[in-house]
Every structure is written in structure tokens, then in C-alpha cells.
Amino acid sequence: MSTNEKAISSSNSVKSFFAKIVRNQLFIPIAALLLLIIFNFAADIILHADTSFFKIVLEPSSTGNMVLSGNLITIIDNASELALLAIGMTLVTSASGGQDISVGATIAIAGSTILRIVKGYSPDISGAKFAAVIIGAFLLSVIVSALFGAFNGALVAYFKIQPMVATLILFTAGRSIAAWINNNDNISINDTRFGYFGNFIPGIPVPTPVFITIICIIVIALVLKFTNLRLYSQAVGINASSSRLNGINPKTIKLLSFIILGICVAVCGLIKVSRTSSITYAVIANNIEMDAILAVALGGNNLGGGKFNMTASVLGAYVIQFLTTTLFRMKVSSSAISAYKAIVVILLIIMSSPFIRKWLADRKNRRLAAKAGSNVRKEVA
């Protein structure tokens, strides 16, 4: 044992400052963010000879409010849904070792549920009444999304179906269910107050989704601090059998993670439908599942489950939105963006692949064997 232990401890003691930084899980998203900023900065100076990309200005919006605008604000605003999904997806990934690919479709369901409730009320109801309607609609959509999350979770936890395949069911049917909820009608809400959640509240220059996201991040931070959610889901994700023998019920934890994701989805649904005050069932939150998975991967989290870093995932979400905006700026059409992102995904998984890790371990073992061999020779001498 001793040579091995020595090797481990010595490698720890020599570990340089730089290696420490690189090994930190936040390294990848922060490095990617810096890279994007530098790239845009350079592009700005070379192409436009100014730094317009990063400029934030206070100017009147179409409704006459004074609001902040600029690329950075757009990025932070548009990344809200992704950040929310990244929270839930990180937990699901950690506990179940797989990803939920039905989030886009369930956002459609949540959004459709909200619209179904809200559309029945005329635009001139009083503020208090309107608030009650919105809260009621939102709570109902939370329940609905949580139920769909529980459906996915039950398939995964109790029927032991791989998460991606289990969520395939809702991925296929979700948008159809969303359309069915509203009889496939094109609904648009005329009440401007409905748009507050996805755009601006008059008098406040920062987009509302940013506030919603911050609140949700604080809530999840508190949950992680004051409950054992982190320990439990990591333990279940790493070794379910061992967790069970330590008194944790892995099935409950997996189910719980899917329900939490469901709640995140409901919040996203509210923001999404509020942005346009309408819904297009086939297009709303299209391809968002890919971005959410990418955010988790970019945060350096193992997609096979286990340990996770929530900050890194959320940061990953913002980096992806930054990437999307940058690609737009490079005049890449919106649908072609997925091709570029696919390449990013492949690069990321190659870096975290078991193959590479095994290769490194083999090299280390050979070194140890060589050492053992040289010891023999010494003894013989």
C-alpha cells in the first residue's frame, strides 16, 4: 500500500497553484466566458473600432418606459429560462444519472395551462383581481408541471427506465398535450400587465425575468444550505445501493429531483408566454433541452450523475446564452446555431470522457510498475 499512498500524497503536496485553478469546477465556464468576452471585444475593435457590443444604455422602450438595453442585458435576460432549467437539470442529472429531454415540451404545457386560465378574464379587471388570476394560473401550472415531472420521475425511479428514454414519451407528446389544453387555438393576451413577467414592469429598468431568476437561485441556494438535498442526490447518483443501505430511499430522491425540475419548468413557462403574451405550440422553447443539458455539461458536471456544482451549471447557462448571442452576431441563422452547439457538446464530452481518464490512470499504473521493477533490480544488486 505504502508506495501508492506516498504517490497520492506527494502528488497532492506538489500540486501547484495553477493546477488548483484548472481543477476547480468553475474553471471551464469562467474560461469560456472570458474567451467569449475577449472574442467579442476583439471583433468590436477590429470591425467597428469601438466597444458597442458591451455598451449598456438607458433608453425609452416601445411602451415608453426608461429601460436598460444593450447586448449584455439581452444576454442576462434571455438566459433566464436556461438558468432556471439548469438548476433542475443539474439535480436530475446528479440523482438519476441521465437527463430530462422533455423540458421544452413541458414548458409548452405549463405555458398553455397559464394561458388557458388567463385568457378567460377581460383586460379591465382590477389589479388585485388580476394578481389573483395570475397567481392562480401560475400555481396550477406548477402543479401540472410537477405532476408531469413526477410522471417522468416515476418511470425512472420505479420502473427503472433510462431517464432519456422515459422522458422521450413527453418529448413526443408534450407539445401535442399543450395544444390540446387550449384546443389548438392561437391565444394572445391583450392585457399589457400579463407581459410584465417576461418583459419590464413600468418604472423598473431591469427586465423582470432577471429578478425571477435571482429569486429562484436564492431559493435553491437556501434549499441546498438548509436541507440535505445535495448530499442525498449526490450519494444516490454515485452509488444507489450504498445509499439505500445508509437509510436513503433512492427512489424518492430521484422522484423529488424530477418534481423540482417540473417546478423550474413551470416558472420558465410563465416567463416564456409572458414574453410574447401568446404561444406557438410547436416552437415555444424549441431545442431548449439541448441548451439545458449543455449548461450542465459546461459547468463541468458529470452527465453520468453524482457530484454537482450548482453555481457552475447556472454560470454555464449564461455562457451558452452569450455563445448564442455571439453566434447571432456572426450572422449565423438561428436554426443553424444548433450545429455549432453540437460541436461544443462533443468537445465537452471528449474532455470528460471515461476513455481519457482510463488512459491517464493506465499511464500512472505503468509508472508505478516501472518503479516496482527498478526496486527489484536494486534488491538483486
Binding site: 438548509f226 436541507t227 450519494a235 443501505l245 445508509n246 437509510g247 499504473n365 505503468r366
Partner: protein, 502 residues
């Protein structure tokens, strides 16, 4: 190359994360001999075989086969150079038919000739007296038949070296005799056979030569006539047989107050894992053990006590009060701790830090909404790292990068922190270094002296004799005897396990 050798392995090294599985091991197999490979659990027998057959890449050393250096990178390579293997676990495909399992991966040509395959498989199965149709799906056959099919596959290959890694553990007496006859036939044809088994009886029945491994190192190679049984055992355990008798602890039996209510008492406890309903009780300060062969039901029994597998019947009393233990959390809340047999699969949570692994059980008992503060957790971890002398770079080191012995200490720390009244340790000394083994045994005795009840299971009988004051012997899922006092000696235990006089 040694005269008449078909296979020579020199300086074989293999490392796993945190474990030195093989170090500089030499092994020689001669033409037409049956060569036993012996050693305790975790001595490196299976690893040596998996390195030889290319399942694990080796980290150092060389292999010579009939005067040629060979580099075996995969099981395919091994088959191609004439090494046929029956592994310890059944390594066949349950979804294929019996005949397919016998021929897949080793026939020439592009097409599968079903009729030929079925007829020749049928002939071979009949010759070997295996009662199964070649068209049956393997998954529907009993384990014994599956094992015989694996053997049939291996002997049908035109091989120079045949490896049998514990092939007999699921076979009955008759089937074992069939296998031995087969081995003798092959021996006459000049095939070299490597035979790994736990049963000494079988070794002395068929083998010509013995190589002993201990803790990943070579102890020596012996001709069977030169190595009596007692000496073989002491070579395997690394100490002289006579010494072992002296270490027996004294006086602990007197300390136990049998008049008091037992700490734990089970009546007719019934599980679903193939064990018969059994009664069991343990008193404060007592160390007892479950013993029996592999698969005798000793682990299944303690798992039933802890509620690890589904319990379907029986009554359990703790301190005289009836309690319900249906799942691990119930047992934990009543003060029972269980250190599982398979450390890697059921014990450690590999990627989590040493600290998280230590606090896990107590944390779960405390509840989902009441996490320990970081400072508190660090204090706990610090205390037990010092107490048990756990060698780790820091509390934050993932447990999987620790050595086997230190991993086991962390799991022990986890359950000690939970402060149980009754501690079940299933094979706590398996696959760890000798120093730690002794430390763990001392700890068990210390805990008992403090008034805790301990169940200690080990496949090394001398460890059991040293630590336990009472032994429960199991065979075929049934409790067949209870030994204490003067009956606690190797011979008596062996005899009870075997169910006859020695």
C-alpha cells in the same frame, strides 16, 4: 524457460486505484499438469487470471507461451493463442441459447450454421452429462447448468492452457466428480490446467502443484506432496498454524450477562433471498460470528437482520420490546449498524469526500431538513480520522482514491459515528492489508468491552476464532450449528460446516 513449461508469467504487476492487486508475481505452468492457484480473498488470484486472459491490461511483466513471448490484449487474443477460461462469475450471455454460448466468438467463417452448432453442442452436452437442450435460452437454465455449459465451452476448445477459476462453487458433488474426470482426461492429452478453488479437499484430490499468493505477492510454488494441508493454510494466511491457537482472547465470555434481555432477538426471521427462517439473539458486550461457505447464507442472514433485503416474516425484539425493521432506516434508528460485504458496491460512495462518507449515516438518521454545519461535520471527520488512524490527504479527498484498508476504516467510522448498540460487520477484513486487519479485530474487541454487541463475519476462520465468543454455522441457507467455548477451534468449525466428522 523452465523445462516442459507451456506458460510462464514473470514479474506481473497490476494496480487498481488505491490497491496494489499484483506485484512482481511469477507463475509457471507445465505441460500436462493440474496446477492449483491458492490464496485468501483478495490475494490476487482472479486478478492474475484476468491479466493472463487480457481482461485487464497488465501494468508490468511478461508472459511466455511455449517459448514465445505473447502480448495478450483481449480475451480474443487469449483464445487465439490457446488459452481457454472458465471465470468465477458466469460470463455467458443469458439472452442466447446454450449452443450459441458454447460456440460464439470462436468459430470460423461469416455465417452461423445453426444445425451443425446444435448437433455438435448436443453431442458434447450428452458426453458431459449436462441435462439441457442446446436450444434452450441460457437465462432459463439453473446456475449449475450455466456453469457446466461454460466448462463445456472451454474444454471443447483446442487449448494448451485451461483456466478454471472457482468453477465448483455452484456444482454438486456428482458434477464436481464429472469435472474432475474431465480434467484428468485433458491432463493426459498434455493440456496444462490452472485450477482456482477455495476447497482444500478438491486441491488435494486432483492437483499436482500449488502456487500460493498472498496480498498480491507470490509466496511460493510447491509440489503437492511436499505441502501438507496445515502448511498450505499457514502459507495462505501468512502465519504458522500453531501460533494462531495462542491469540485466542480470554475472559470475554464471562463478562456477558446472559440473564439480561438480549440487545437484539429475532424469531423466525424470513427473508426473500433464499435463506430458511432463522432465530437469532445477541447480548450486550457479545461478539458473535456467522460462518459457512460462500453462498451458505451468512451474508443474507445479517442483511435480513438489517432489513437490507425484503423481510417478509418473523418478529424482532430489541431490549425486549417488539420493533418493526423493514428497511435499513428502521434498523439504523433502532441502533443497528451494518458494514456490508461488498465494500465497493454497497459501502463507499466513491466520488464523495471522506468527510461526507463518514457523516452519511448519522446525517440520514438526523433527517433531511437538518443538515450538520460544515464545522460540525469537520469535527466528526477529524475525530475519526485520528481515532482510526485513517491515512488520507485531507477530509476532502474522494474516498475512492484511498487504499482498500483505509476505505474500510472510513466505512467503520461512519457506523461508529452513528453510535450503534449493535454493530454488524460483514467481511470487514476482506481485501485489505494485514496491519489493518489486526487493527479492525482489536477495535471489535474494544467495542465489545465497551458493552456494544457485534456480529463479525470473516471468511478467514482464524480471525473468527480470535474475535468471536460464539459462532453460528450455516449451510445451504440453514443454521446448522452453534459453537462456543472449547468448540471454537478450526477442526470443529470445519466439521460443522461440512456436516460430518473430519
Amino acid at each position: 524457460m523452465i523445462e516442459g513449461a507451456v506458460l510462464e508469467m514473470r514479474g506481473i504487476c497490476k494496480y487498481f486505484p488505491g490497491v496494489r492487486a499484483l506485484e512482481k508475481v511469477d507463475f509457471t505452468l507445465r505441460e500436462g499438469e493440474i496446477h492449483a492457484l491458492m490464496g485468501e480473498n483478495g490475494a490476487g488470484k482472479s486478478t492474475l487470471i484476468k491479466v493472463l486472459t487480457g481482461v485487464y491490461p497488465m501494468d508490468g511483466g511478461e508472459v511466455m507461451l511455449s517459448d514465445h513471448f505473447v502480448h495478450i490484449r483481449s480475451p480474443q487474443d487469449a483464445q487465439n493463442v490457446g488459452i481457454a477460461t472458465v471465470y468465477q462469475e458466469i460470463t455467458l450471455c443469458p439472452n442466447l441459447t446454450v449452443a450459441e454460448n458454447m460456440y460464439i466468438g470462436r468459430t470460423k467463417g461469416v455465417l452461423t450454421d445453426w444445425r451443425m452448432m446444435n448437433s455438435s453442442a448436443g453431442r458434447l452436452l450428452e458426453e458431459l452429462g449436462i441435462p439441457v437442450s442446446p436450444k434452450e435460452q441460457l437465462g432459463n437454465c439453473s446456475i449449475a447448468v450455466q456453469q457446466m455449459v461454460a466448462i463445456a465451452r472451454a474444454v471443447d476448445m483446442d487449448c494448451k492452457v485451461l483456466i478454471l477459476d472457482e468453477p465448483t462453487s455452484s456444482l454438486d458433488e456428482q458434477e464436481v466428480q464429472k469435472l474432475f474426470n474431465l480434467m484428468r482426461d485433458l491432463k493426459k492429452k498434455g493440456v496444462g490446467i490452472i485450477f482456482v478453488t477455495h476447497f482444500l479437499e478438491q486441491v488435494y484430490e486432483v492437483c499436482d502443484r500449488i502456487t500460493v499468493l498472498r496480498d498480491g505477492k507470490l509466496v511460493g510454488e510447491y509440489v503437492i506432496e511436499d505441502l501438507p494441508r496445515v502448511q498450505l493454510v499457514s502459507k495462505m494466511l501468512g502465519k504458522d498454524f500453531d501460533d494462531m491457537a495462542d491469540i485466542k482472547t480470554e475472559g470475554d465470555a464471562d463478562r456477558i450477562d446472559l440473564s439480561e434481555l438480549p440487545v437484539y432477538q429475532a424469531n423466525n426471521l424470513t427473508g426473500t433471498t433464499g435463506i430458511k427462517p432463522f432465530d437469532f439473539e445477541i447480548h450486550a458486550g457479545e461478539v458473535n460470528g456467522f460462518t459457512g461457505l460462500l453462498g451458505s447464507g451468512r451474508s443474507e442472514s445479517v442483511r435480513a437482520i438489517f432489513g437490507a433485503d425484503r423481510v417478509v416474516g418473523g418478529t424482532v425484539k430489541m431490549h425486549g420490546k417488539t420493533v418493526k425493521i423493514r428497511k435499513p432506516l428502521d434498523a439504523m434508528k433502532h441502533g443497528i449498524s451494518y458494514l456490508p460485504e461488498d465494500r465497493k458496491l454497497d459501502g463507499i460512495v466513491g466520488d464523495l469526500s471522506v468527510r461526507d462518507n463518514i457523516i452519511l449515516a448519522l446525517q440520514v438518521m438526523k433527517g433531511f431538513f437538518r443538515p450538520f454545519s460544515r464545522a460540525q461535520a469537520e469535527r466528526f471527520a477529524d475525530y475519526y480520522i485520528k481515532l482510526l488512524n485513517i491515512k488520507t490527504a485531507s477530509q476532502d479527498t474522494p474516498i475512492k482514491s484511498l487504499s482498500g484498508g483505509n476505505q474500510q476504516k472510513v466505512i467503520l467510522a461512519r457506523w461508529l459515528l452513528a453510535d450503534p448498540v449493535y454493530l454488524i460487520l460483514d467481511e470487514p477484513t476482506r481485501g485489505i492489508d494485514v496491519g489493518t486487519k489486526v487493527e479492525i479485530q482489536k477495535l471489535v474487541l474494544k467495542l465489545a468491552a465497551e458493552g456494544k454487541s457485534v456480529t463479525f463475519i470473516s471468511s478467514e476462520i482464524d480471525e473468527m476464532i480470535r474475535t468471536c465468543s460464539r459462532l453460528i454455522v450455516m449451510r445451504d441457507g440453514k443454521v446448522v450449528g452453534e459453537l462456543k467455548g472449547d468448540d471454537l477451534n478450526q477442526n470443529k468449525i470445519m466439521a460443522t460446516i461440512a456436516g460430518g466428522e473430519s
